[in-house]
Amino acid sequence: MKLGRPVVEMTGITVEFSGVRVLDRVDLTLRSGEIHALMGENGAGKSTLIGALTGTLPILAGEVRIYGEERTPAGVARSRAEGIATVFQETHLSPHLTVAENVMIGNEVRGTFGIDWKANRARTAEVLTRLGLGDLDPGRSLSSLSPAVKQLVAVARALVLEPRVLILDEPTSSLDAAEVQTLLRVVRGLRDRGVAILFVSHFLEQVFEIADRMTVLREGRFVGEYLADDLDHADLISKMIGEDIAALKALRSERLAHHYSASGDPTLRASALGRRGTLDPTDLELSRGEVVGFAGLHGSGRTELARLMGGAERADSGELWVDGVRVHLRSPGAALRSRIALSTENLREEGIIGGLTARENIVLALQAMRGWSRPLSRGEQSALIETYLEALHLSPRDIDRPIEELSGGTQQKILLARLLATRPHVLILDEPTRGIDIGAKLDIQRRVAQLAGDGVAVVFISSQLEEVVRLSDRIVVLKDREKIGELSNGPGVTVDTIVEMIAADLDGAPEM
């Protein structure tokens, strides 16, 4: 097989979801023996483009050529037959099946009497050996494995098909440094055997380490295709973020100028707040008008602390005071009544209610606080919604549509409006900017800054540390389920400061 020959050529790909254009004339070319990184912020259209390639999403316009031949409307089965395999995140595997079952599902070796389990286990072992997991028993239950091994099992599942095109969508998000290297080595090995690889990751270092070529998307549009050697970090980021980088910089300097110093009693005080197996006892104070960022990796305790403070999870140790009053949060409803509003990281499962209209979603929390017998009149609802339409750049024509038809950014803004309607003194936002377009991101970050100006104590959590640094007056750093320190934000604080702080904290027990 000649290296560098285009295997997949996608041109002018356009995809719409209920009238919203999420991909607009995007091109992507994958060549055999090459690792191609698909770059873009959350909401740029990466997953959609992958969906279009694997045939899970219908394409409105544009063409897909595989080995030069045009593909007519195709489904998942078709793209599999073409040798396109996807490595899903480990969370998409079935925890109650064995390793072999997870690897071979859909491609089982069959004998005369149905599935030949012995052959399946042998085939699984063979693929696992290729991934350096020769000693893993294919009969083990997946749930007993660490996230990293699960991720490699997911790779094995894709390799069973001997694919010519391999798509890796955020394959490293649950891996530690050594495991990442193992995975990258496997990926390079596949490339050298002529497989065309599409690699999606938000870890820029890994991308630069492994990618030969990159395609950058921004807000559903094609920005360009580049050789990895022609770009450096800064180039790539500015291409991904685009012109709004100026606006974000302005926001950062505004926040720095604002320079908050706490005075008076704290709005919220947590002392030794914790929950066994989730978060070690943690002390925290939040003051009026302050934005406090929680920084840490996924699973560091940042989300867990937020959930304890917002009543989503019940603490089994410690105490919590709001405005000087001791509160016992038995439910999120109790937290709301104590003026603590929480938006969780799961927008779709724990945030919006898809079947209800935007209007109903906005009034829901306030209505729940008032009780069922005191409904908000149509007039009161409209007045309430009016307030947020402008502040959050929402479109009035969206208000009476089911919220599931609206874009992720709009959904997130509506969730924010719901919480703000309860007039919280403490607002906890866990990943409020994940998976939404840059415009909505800016709106939300601006709103957070404004809220702090109005005296709300805001907790801001994002895995994008730049956002945390940009917005926060103070940054709480967490690692391994405990708070390892606090930083007062200032001109000298950068993403690297936080990363170094996390890396330098050696007393945290290693994973597993």
Binding site: P332, G355, A368
Partner: protein, 355 residues
């Protein structure tokens, strides 16, 4: 193009888009079939005391208990649950009232005492469902299945296995009496349906029930008290089933421990589904449930009227309901729409209507 001409047209269009529109069509068709068999079927005569009588009135009377349990079921289904116990609650309510009235004097006071007993017992059974679902966290299907099985047994224990009969004129009047020439049961059922409809839509209950039915987790995070709402809804469903039991036993003043309310939970579920409420929970429609209940009653009467043999009755019912569900399904409708769009004169026609 006058503005007041558009009003009714728009209203009609709105009605056609409702799911229960097809329920209304089905009722009309069934009545038409009966009319063909007997041209005098729809005749309503005025009796000596000013009471209306006729087949249609019989249908309304028969629909009353189904309307009650369908309204209760509608709310339960909205929360994403199901209540299989309503038929059994009906028979328990019947058994309790008959056992009490058997030995009580034939007075208005006894009637009220019997009704109070019915409310207490059916609320208690509903509360058991409510606790199992909301506090213990069992699946509604299992919880209410338990009460469904236990309930009928409980009724037999209460009556000692007998089909207890009693006499009480006031109690009997509830099922057989007339007000404004219409059966009391139907008026009561309608009153309950309208009352519940207003209650859930004018207060925030409707929104909250839909919220927990669509996404229980998200509703919890929004501060909705799911537990209390579920508890209330199951108790309410129980009490409505209790009254349905009173309707069913009072007309003959006998409780039939093996027949009263038997399989009526299925009628209630069907009525709710015909009315356009999805069993997956969420959006619900009380008016639709009432239409569904009336359709079920019409269907039952039609089967008898047409002389379909009693062994074939379930099959006949099934055919009508499957046809209706097909008509309501989005996919089948889309096929129809596409075929219509393929026809030629359609767009022009639509313009005429719009003008």
């Amino acid at each position: 193009m006058s503005a007041n001409a558009r009003g009714p047209v728009e209203a009609l269009k709105g009605l056609v888009r409702r799911q229960y529109f097809w329920g209304i069509v089905a009722v009309a068709l069934l009545l038409l079939v009966n009319l063909v068999k007997d041209p005098g079927y729809l005749a309503v005569s005025i009796g000596p005391s000013g009471n209306l009588a006729g087949n249609v009135i019989d249908i309304l009377r028969a629909a009353a208990p189904v309307i009650l349990i369908a309204v209760g079921m509608c709310l339960v289904v909205a929360t994403g649950g199901i209540d299989l116990s309503v038929g059994s609650v009906m028979v328990v309510a019947g058994a309790v009232s008959m056992e009490f009235l058997k030995d009580a004097p034939d007075t208005v006071g006894s009637t009220f005492t019997a009704l109070a007993l019915v409310i207490a017992v059916s609320a208690a059974l509903g509360a058991v469902n409510g606790v199992l679902v909301s506090v213990v966290g069992l699946q509604p299907f299992i919880s209410t299945l338990v009460i469904m099985l236990a309930g009928r047994g409980l009724a037999k224990v209460i009556t000692g296995g007998q089909n207890t009969a009693a006499t009480n004129e006031t109690f009997r009047w509830i099922a057989n009496g007339y007000v404004f020439g219409l059966p009391v049961v139907f008026l009561l059922a309608l009153l309950v349906a309208v009352g519940v409809g207003l209650l859930v839509r004018r207060s925030a209950l409707g929104l909250m029930l839909e919220a927990i039915g669509m996404d229980a987790k998200a509703a919890r995070l929004a501060g909705v008290n799911r537990r209390a709402l579920l508890f209330t809804v199951y108790i309410f469903g129980g009490v409505l089933a209790g009254f349905a039991g009173v309707f069913a036993t009072a007309s003959v003043m006998t409780v039939d421990v093996s027949r009263t309310g038997y399989q009526l939970e299925l009628d209630a579920i069907l009525a709710v589904v015909i009315g356009g409420t999805s069993l997956a929970g969420g959006k619900f429609n009380i008016t639709g449930a009432v239409v569904g209940a009336i359709l079920i009653a019409t269907l039952d009467k039609t089967v008898v009227f047409l002389g379909v043999s009693s062994s074939a009755t379930p099959a006949f019912k099934a055919i009508v309901i499957v046809a209706l569900c097909l008509l309501q399904s989005e996919r089948v409708r889309r096929v129809f729409r596409q075929r219509r769009a393929a026809g030629t004169a359609r767009p022009a026609e639509r313009e005429v209507v719009a003008a």
